[in-house]
């Protein structure tokens, strides 16, 4: 595998306002990366900097080993070999579907271009619409064409700016899966911007969370969820609660439901729960907060911990319960298959199943 995209402390500003600060990330060839964050966090700006539409004020951007952006110099978008898929599709209304897809293939001979267009039309399953104009297609079809058009010239990287946000939920999920498949098929590296967590979890090999212009963490989706390095990441991604704990000598954390040892990099105790310190360095022997995810506890009639159900939310396959632990004023979340429904007010048992205990300073 080779490195396809590298961002080296990239900063982008609009006038005096810093929009992205010192973002660092890498994508291997064939990987799909996702940038997620609340609106205004700078995720789209970062994507546009990669595409070459925004100049950067610090750092550098490399595409396939070639420097494309540094302060004061940027390779124009048309010379970068990037593909871009826009939120509003941006299909050319005056061109047929076939000509839209063929737009970026001007270097190919007529026959080769036709072949490539046909190939892509088959890939996205829209061969019969080749002669149609964009306005004659549905939203989902337009998005497929926009994708085919961006992929056609075999770009170094495909950039997708909230590509599914204007589609309805069902279509969005199907298309997200399809897109992942097509990118794999074409061997294309992708970078996607979204504000939808399910989409990000479903598609990404690497996930980045942005907040106020900072790329807080760039990691696998699993680690973003279970081993967030910043409190914002822990709160923004997924459901979770925080309980108070004590850190003893920096080696042990004591919680209402047990003690956990510090994870030892040299001797990762196989399978046994351990805690890891977040980057917001924790001082010795301090009161701390521990992140608990809903899947960190298994509910049942029995268990070492007892708690009363305060709230339940139906999630289809499962219920999400809010539980108040007996003997402490701690509230946690837990999940149970929806076949076993407990009533609000019912007392249940809880078995801790923490793989990693994430500790934040208060």
């Amino acid at each position: 595998m080779s490195e396809q995209l590298r961002l080296d402390k990239v900063s982008v500003s609009y006038g005096d306002t810093a929009v992205v600060r010192e973002a660092e990330l890498t994508l291997e060839a064939g990987e799909l990366g996702c940038l997620i964050g609340p609106s205004g966090c700078g995720k789209s700006t970062l994507l546009r900097a990669v595409a070459g539409f925004e100049p950067i004020v610090a750092g550098r951007i490399e595409l396939h080993g070639r420097e494309v952006s540094r302060p004061g110099r940027r390779v124009p978008p048309e010379k970068r070999r990037v593909g871009m898929v826009f939120q509003d599709f941006a299909l050319f209304p005056h061109l047929t579907v076939r000509d839209n897809i063929g737009y970026g293939l001007k270097r190919l001979s007529g026959r080769k271009r036709r072949q490539r267009v046909e190939e892509l039309l088959r890939l996205v399953g829209l061969a019969p619409t080749a002669k149609a104009y964009p306005h004659q297609l549905s939203g989902g079809q337009q998005q497929r064409i926009a994708l085919a058009r961006a992929v056609a010239p075999k770009p170094e990287i495909l950039l997708l700016d909230e590509p599914f946000s204007s589609l309805d939920a069902e279509l969005r999920e199907q298309l997200a899966l399809d897109v992942r498949g097509w990118l794999h098929h074409e061997g294309i590296t992708g970078l996607l911007v979204t504000h939808d967590q399910n989409e990000a979890f479903g598609m990404a090999d690497r996930l980045g969370v942005l907040h106020e212009g900072r790329l807080l963490q760039w990691d696998s989706p699993y680690r973003i969820y279970h081993a967030p390095k910043h409190r914002f990441v822990a709160e923004f991604i997924g459901q979770g609660s925080f309980v108070a704990g004590d850190l003893l000598n920096g080696q042990q954390v004591r919680t209402p439901f047990g003690c956990y040892n510090r994870k030892n990099a040299a001797d990762p105790a196989e399978g046994s729960p351990a805690f890891c310190l977040t980057e917001d360095a924790v001082k010795q022997s301090e009161p701390v907060e521990v992140l608990l995810r809903p899947d960190d506890f298994i509910p049942g009639e029995d268990g070492p911990l007892r708690g009363r159900i305060l709230e339940k939310r139906f999630r289809g396959a499962e219920y999400l319960y809010t539980v108040a632990l007996t003997d402490s004023d701690t509230r946690i979340y837990c999940l149970a298959p929806s076949h076993f429904g407990y009533a609000v007010g019912h007392e249940i048992g809880l078995t801790p199943a923490l793989q990693e205990v994430v500790v934040f300073p208060i």
Binding site: A51, G52, F53, P76, P77, E78, K79, R80, R81, V82, G83, M84, F86, Q87, D88, A90, F92, P93, H94, Y103, G104, K106, A146, R149, A150, P153, P155, L159
Partner: protein, 549 residues
Amino acid sequence: MRISPWSAGVLASALLLSLPLLTVLGFVLQPAGEVWAHLAENVLDEYIANSLWLMGGVAAGTLLLGVSSAWITTMCAFPGRRFFEWALLLPMALPAYIIAYTYTGLLDVAGPVQSGLREAFDWGFGDYWFPEIRSLGGAVAMLSLVLYPYVYLLTRATFLEQSVAVLEVSRSLGHGPWATFLRLALPMARPAIVAGLSLVLMETLADYGTVHYFGIATFTTGIFRTWFGLGDVAAAAQLAALLLAFVFVLIVFERWSRRRARYEHTDSKQGGFARYRLQGWQSFGALLVCALPLLFGFIVPVTQLGVWAWDRADGFLDPDFIALLTNSLTLAGIAAALALLLALFLAYGRRLRPTPWMNAAVRTAGMGYAIPGTVVAVGVMIPLAAFDNALDAWMEARFGISTGLLLSGTLVALVFGYLVRFLAVALNTVESGLLQIRPSLEQAARSLGSNSSQVLWRVHLPMLRGTLYTALLLVFVDVLKELPATLILRPFNYNTLAVKAYELASDERLAEAALPAVAIVLAGLIPILILSYSITRGRARHERAITAG
């Protein structure tokens, strides 16, 4: 800062196009000469008074005709409403000077109306009182009849955008149609009405043909008299600068009201609202309000012109007339094509680099439309003549060759004048067309390997085709109708339709003037019909949306 060729080109064109304006303004700083003193003492008060009376009268007239017809066609249901919606625009096709001499032919002592009255009642000359058409009141009537569509158009657009909910609340609270109109609709539409009115008043100030024909001394006729009669360039330019001061007030007024219009715009799509159903005498009244402006602003004068032209229909094949037609069409074609290219260049340059400098440059280049043709002509003539004289003197001294007048008094000067005055028409059209194209489209094209000129060629131009034709057509027709700038800037003995119609009418050869006049009106009808068509089509789409929803 590095300057790109686009930016440099845009800045240079803006500078060149603002040369006439700067020239005229520059004369404000010059000491006033003897002629100016004479003007100030004897006629200036009259110019100002007449211009103000004219503006006041035309404002009242266009408000009355434009607002009432806009409200009735938008809010009421009566027989013929759909026809009036677009037909009320037709008077726009008639230049004021043409309608002025047509009515003179109809209403003066020897005209059919007075002759008919005399015959019917057996009156003799001087036995009766009849309003004098060639008067200030007459000029107000003429200008109002052809200019009210500006107010109608903008006011109607606002009425259509007004939130139906607001109007319905008013009705549910017990206000009738009149109260709703006066207390809600009218105040909410005020910015649009003011914007329309500013355009009307700019046209009124710019008018030369009507006031000259009716013998009313205003700024425009004063500039002509000072320039050609008294031969004082500086005084003419100073008069022009004073006229500009009036225009600037109107520009500020218009900009201000448009900004307000943005704030006051109630963002609500018009649902299927219930028009007031008019009964009996009510619908007769509505019909009258809509029919009168159309009748007197279009049907009567066009019929009269048609009758005159019919009598001399063979004149259409006359070689003189064909030469006239060729001159006009060539000139309008050249000016329109150049204006379109320039507009495209400026608008696209600004889209590529929307820096404050570029914005200012493009806005300056588009100022000319507010500036009366007379002022533009004076501002073009002075620097070009100075250039010609300087070049001639230098060549004479250096090589002993006299180059004479290279630019001034040639078609170059005329076309340049047209560009200064009418570029804005093309520029506004092209810019609003470009605004419709989402930036993501050009970014998509860029990411697919096209550079900015390729994007213009492969994406923008094909998508803008309709817009470009419209821009071309609008400039073409405006050039065809323009009278005062052509009169001043044309090469010696070079005639166009507008000039010929005006000259023949001034010589009291009204019937002969009908031929070129009819040609101008026919050309002027094309953009009006396209505008009407887009209004009806917009409404059809709108009504389909309602039935589908």
